[in-house]
Symmetry: C2
């Protein structure tokens, strides 16, 4: 009988050196949580167009504060998903760019963004139906 954890593909069991996000202790959970941060996915997608400065990103991501942007960038850098390049001019210039690993992940998370934008209408409709049924 099929159970959760028996995935159709072979990338599944925590045993044997592999990862399985269904298991509580699996470090994969940390990665999933991080992508759940408010800005991580948007930053990755924003960097699709090549290296970008702090200020550019800030203007591109509506509503992000400087603090949260810096924090998000640091975490992504620590995880090897983006690089941070400092040019010691005056004033200093800092560019962020996707690493190959980050570019790979970007392709995946962009699908989420595209899906959300494409299906937001259907979701909004489902919500109003649900809400009126409850009332």
């Amino acid at each position: 009988m099929a159970e959760i954890g028996d995935e159709p593909d072979e990338l599944c069991h925590f045993t044997g050196g592999r990862y399985n996000a269904f298991l509580e202790a699996c470090p994969t959970r940390q990665l999933l949580d991080e992508l759940g941060n408010k800005w991580s996915c948007l930053v990755l997608v924003a960097l699709s167009w090549g290296p970008m400065r702090h200020g550019e990103l800030r203007r591109g991501l509506g509503g992000v504060s400087q603090k949260m942007l810096t924090q998000t960038l640091r975490t992504l850098e620590r995880d090897g998903l983006i690089t941070r390049t400092v040019t010691p001019s005056v004033p200093v210039r800092v560019d962020y760019e996707l690493t190959p690993l980050g570019a790979d992940l970007r392709a995946v998370v962009q699908q989420i963004k595209v899906w959300a934008e494409a299906n937001m209408g259907a979701v909004a409709e489902a919500r109003s139906t649900y809400d009126s049924a409850v009332a």
Copy 2:
């Protein structure tokens, strides 16, 4: 010149009735936030194997509390991503199942889970490199 918001594909600008998650006021942000919840993605993927009961999901998702599972399922139901079917037996039986819309999204978020499980090793390595460089 390319700017954030000028996406390579055509699903981009908020203007003209379309959605763009880069904009603060875009409702797409709500969807992204929801997928960022700790359990939403895992629930969607777990339902890949067909209808599942509350208890089955609870056992399958390591560490989820009853409250959070119920809350997550409610939200997904409200958004039209899953259905909730009550069989009035004693004790009552409740099954959850992906809607076509939810199955569509599941395919996308599963890629995230697969990516995370496949690349967790590289990320962990990057982290330790970063941490030792800081020290």
